[in-house]
Homo-oligomer: 698 residues x 2
């Protein structure tokens, strides 16, 4: 759909236009008049004039086919107005009214469904309902009843896109205080027709927009969002997101006032990672990301050199950057020596650099320090702590350095005495708070760094065997056989159903061996005594077979038999599982298994596809990665082969289609380097018939 | 020492007084003149007058024995001036000069040692060196060369105490922007004589000071700090601390420009916990803690009820509070029903409460909502999200509610349109940023909650046996026997040195048993095969004995023999260790042992003494506590007895005195409930002779 008539209309009718400039039918008329918007048509059946303009009794009386109707009437009256506007050939509408799905009541939900059906039937572009409209500063078009957006504001190249009207106004004001100017401000409302990602698509293509700051509660269509984000990436534009719901209470609150599907928090994190968005952990960081983007293209990442006139401030900034995910790399020896030659005494020069108060005495001292720390390749940003008069006196040197530097210079001045806008014009960043600066710089740097990475798409020619229609899961043996087709290395096992078979197969598998009951109906087999380890003889194996079968019969479950498989010695157990998020689809979880994942939450998530490099990065990001890395003198585990196995698992799931519900390899036994990794157990859950087992591991 | 002549002098001589109001010898003269301080005596050998006042050639010429000399001369000339001032009977001095220990050079360190020796010899109170002096707003006395502190500023009841001159100015400005007014502003400098805790002692007793905001780099004397903090607690005053060095880089930077002992970050955390201070995680939070304290005594903790006109803002605030350590308790059913009766539609009323825009329509609607959420006992604070015009229109209702409420009302207005000072006068808190509000409220609430708790002092009549002079450690057997005297339950073991003894003792201990080599010289015994588990027969025990002795002989270490002890079945292994921090003394570490503590950093620390309730709280704070709490159907572990054993370990160490270097029980095996906990192994390291082993577990 094209959103041009919605977001850059050349003519507008306001239905329910009011003479009262403070009412929702009056605000847009007032704003548009003051913005000198010419082709504006108030529609009001009771007044011949509205705010000094001729008013029309009905939309049919308006003398042209406008691009957009702003519908400022009650929910009951709205659909009729839309039908009439569509009959006239009007392509777009904004619906202010509330009383739809956001009420969480049957009436409102039904009313919204009608609206969606209307839009889909007619092709009319309908924004809202329950939205406050938009402000297009580029073209000076105001279709909002919000009073925060005023004609005459300087237009800029940042877009604001929010799923809350109140946050739209709040973020606009916060960002304006931070020095950000806007192209478009958009409040999506209930997204009955035009959704969040439709707006993103528009903004990705909009020449006046260089970045978008987004307040997100819930996304309805994960794939559409990822595609829109890819367009932002391709256009070199910043897509920055604050997502509410990081805590349980926050998530519950966000869900309760949206009508959207509840995606998993981990899935949102994984999706934003894949989408390559810049994440703001705090609302103020969102504004600051927009601000940093306006400084130009000089910020390359989150590695900072800190030049401070105060040792304390250098330490505080180092703390703040480290905690926010940025870095303060130790400077090369040559640079340190250069700095030490400049700075009297034994000040710290490794980074942060304590320049001491010497800056006030020596001409060009600061310039020389800046020149030195700009040199190393692994420095992305130079942070200058120059409070109050220190900045004032050194401004020349800073401006000269900024003009020629290929990297960004950002000043921290806790005295808050300088002119941020003037500095921005010189390409110099400016913050008056350590932690705010650190969070923004770290988040922006992480975004820049992530842009350089890409995931190879899944390539597989293998196919799943026919999946059974009458079960909700494959047996472990079936599961492992299927995964092996896609290159997942598995422990082969022998299924036995009689004591006689058990004796023969036990000798064939060899000792020690592991015996497991095979049944799709039993979870937690260990707790039920249905997995037996370290069986050393054929007699022991036959005994175990008989005991497990007897136990299983007593549980009255479907029994396929018992498998024997070699008991592998050594290795580290990890788990890799794929679940389907309702919004974003297949999500891969990698963890150290068992208690590590369950109690310590030491697991990591990505959306599929994940290639071997991505899988290895997931493994290395685990807090307990040390267990795979030669813990306490143990041999290092074969992380590369484990990563390949995990990537193959992901490829298998992508090839599996809609019948798959969840696939988990647990444990994936990672052997010492050079000896590979092998799936000891595989769980394949199917969507039909009705599931009878729940996920065991989050 | 009394700091009255230093911090509230009635007469002052400025040595090195300058006619130039911008120089460090001129600033204090200028400030004191403008503050109408009368008994002020500039000392300058070259001028008959300074800034319009008669100047004296030397301190001996000043016509009275002043309370304080401000010494604004170079480091070389300072000590002579101090000697002469002391000879005149002057009790206190401030030394501005740098060039002391902060240089990290031998000259400067020696110069500082001379200064310390002078002060100790004479009893003169000497502030600094390398400090910027102080501002006493209560009495309008300015002894600083900092230009941020000006006569005429409103005096208040908050003190600012910092170990960095620059942060003194920065925090003063930040806090003033946050609406905080001050009694005293103090910069400690190098603390050659008067140290951080001396100032705290003064402030704890100072009637004009109700709270202290502290910027801390390093504390030199942990016990003194804890005693000063206790005086703050006893006086009901807030002691709020921002400690730099939370990251490795930040800690290294802080160390490099102070001359203080490097305490462990974990020890600082433990000390601040014991001291009952309010911790600020960000510099801005420190200001905000001071601000909240000025609102009066109504904030009881960090449990918030959120009333919001926007569902989004309610969700964001819930996230921010949860992440900051506060809570948003679910409201009781009766309160929810009351709210639901007020609020149209199906809004969220469980907390956060989405009041919707209805607030603009109904009189007393907000008052009624506030009244309802004030009721539950577990609500400490009512947070109102009322941006811009919403607050303006509802101000009457908020003010009325605040006047009668026994709990604090805090408004969040992201539009930042209200008058913070006017609201503060009505006892109403006000923030324009969600995250800043949440961090401050959570930190302040945590402080209030912690004040209600206390630790029982250690009481033990037991004593350690004579400790050997010729070893750096006790054997495991000796260590366990000693700890048992203090009530730590231990696994008794039998030490054997011959094969014959081995056979006899193995039968006596019973099977299965564990055999361990006893040697103070071997760490990582498992890796060397010097611990053998699950020995089932006397023959196996004798074999193990012989193999281990042979292996140990080949390692050429001191061998005391091999112990046999029963191999306990079941139970969960934890570790409890006590190490000595150079600043704060004995620190107890509790963790789940081994990989949990080493890789996952799942350990918790407190300073001794720790009683059983404290030890249990430590166990329950572990991320992996679930392992002790009936994980996967296992029986719950005897946490109460484990806590008693840990407290007994702490008491034992406190009773042990200076010969102890480190004591660790690892593992402490926690059996199922009702079956106690038992120390399987104990490590007791001694201070003399020179240590030969290092800590294995952080």
């Amino acid at each position: 759909m094209t959103l041009l008539p919605l977001l850059a209309p050349r003519s507008i009718a306001v239905i329910g236009a009011s003479d009262n400039k403070a009412r929702i039918g009056g605000v847009p008329v007032d704003l548009l008049i003051r913005a000198k918007f010419e082709r504006l048509y108030p529609v009001n059946p009771k007044s011949p004039a509205v705010q000094g303009l001729k008013a029309y009794p009905a939309i049919e009386d308006v003398p042209e086919t406008v691009d957009l109707v702003v519908v400022a009437v009650s929910a009951d009256a709205t659909l009729d107005q839309l039908e009439r506007a569509h009959a006239l050939g009007i392509p777009a509408a904004i619906v202010y009214a509330s009383g739809y799905a956001e009420t969480n009541e049957a009436d409102g939900i039904a009313r919204q469904a009608e609206l969606t059906a209307f839009a889909e039937r007619t092709g009319m572009v309908v924004a809202g309902p329950n939205c406050m409209g938009n402000a297009n500063f580029t073209d000076a078009v105001f279709t909002t009843f919000g009073q925060s957006f005023q004609p005459g504001e300087t237009a800029g190249n940042t877009a604001l896109l929010t799923q809350s009207g109140n946050m739209c106004a709040t973020l606009f004001r916060m960002a304006r205080r931070a020095g950000v100017t806007f192209s478009h401000v958009i409040n999506t409302g209930n997204e009955a027709n035009v959704d969040f990602s439709d707006y993103l698509d528009f903004l990705a293509a909009d020449a006046s927009t260089h970045s978008a700051l987004c307040y997100v509660e819930e996304l309805r269509d994960g794939a559409k969002f990822l595609a829109a984000a890819a367009r932002f990436r391709a256009a070199g534009k910043l897509l920055a997101v604050y997502k509410v719901g990081a805590s349980e209470k926050g998530a519950a609150a966000a869900r309760s006032h949206t009508a959207a599907l509840a995606g998993d928090t981990a899935a949102y994190d994984a999706a934003f990672l894949k989408a390559g968005v810049a994440r703001a952990s705090e609302l103020s960081t969102l504004s600051d990301l927009g601000y940093l983007h306006t400084l130009g293209d000089k910020i390359g990442g989150g590695n900072c050199a800190i030049l401070s006139i105060s040792g304390a401030a250098g330490a505080i900034l180092s703390d703040a950057l480290s905690l926010a995910g940025g870095d303060v790399p130790t400077l090369p020896d040559a640079v340190q020596q250069g700095l030490a030659a400049q700075i009297p005494g034994h000040s710290m020069v490794s980074n942060p650099v304590d320049m001491t108060g010497n800056i006030v005495n020596a001409n060009d001292f600061l310039s020389e320090c800046i020149r030195l720390v700009l040199e190393p390749d692994d420095i992305d940003v130079v942070l200058l702590y120059l409070p109050g008069v220190f900045l004032k006196n050194a401004l020349d040197q800073v401006e000269k350095a900024a003009a020629t530097a290929g990297k960004a210079l950002i000043v921290i001045d806790t005295f808050a005495l300088a002119d941020r806008d003037a500095l921005a014009k010189a390409g110099i960043g400016y913050f008056d708070d350590f932690d705010r600066a650190a969070k923004a710089i770290a988040a922006y740097g992480a975004w820049k760094t992530a842009r350089a990475q890409a995931t190879a798409p899944a390539v597989t020619t293998a196919a799943w065997p026919q999946l059974p229609d009458d079960r909700s899961a494959l047996s472990e043996t079936e599961g492992k056989e299927a995964l092996a087709l896609f290159g997942v290395p598995v422990v082969r096992d022998a299924l036995v159903t009689t004591a006689q078979e058990a004796r023969v197969q036990a000798e064939a598998v060899g000792f020690p061996l592991v015996a497991k009951l095979v049944s799709p109906d039993v979870a937690h087999k260990t707790e039920h005594g249905l997995i037996r380890l370290s069986l050393q003889t054929a007699d022991a194996a036959v005994d175990a077979f008989e005991q497990m079968m007897a136990k299983a019969r007593s549980m009255n479950v479907h029994i396929e038999g018992v498998t024997f498989e070699p008991m592998l010695q050594g290795g580290v157990e990890i788990l890799a599982g794929v679940t389907r998020d309702p919004v974003f689809g297949w999500m891969l979880t990698v963890g150290l298994g068992g208690v590590w994942t369950e109690l310590m939450k030491d697991a990591t998530h990505r959306l599929l596809p994940v290639d071997a490099a991505g899988a290895e990065a997931m493994l290395r990001s685990l807090k307990g990665f040390g267990l795979l890395d030669g813990y306490r003198g143990a041999p290092k585990a074969d992380v590369a082969q484990a990563a390949k196995a995990i990537a193959a698992l992901g490829d298998a799931v992508l090839a599996g289609g809609s019948r798959l519900r969840e696939v988990e390899v647990n444990p994936l036994l990672v052997m010492p380097q050079g000896k590979g990794a092998v799936a000891v157990d595989a769980l394949v859950l199917l969507t039909e018939p009705e599931p009878v087992r729940t996920r065991e591991v989050a």
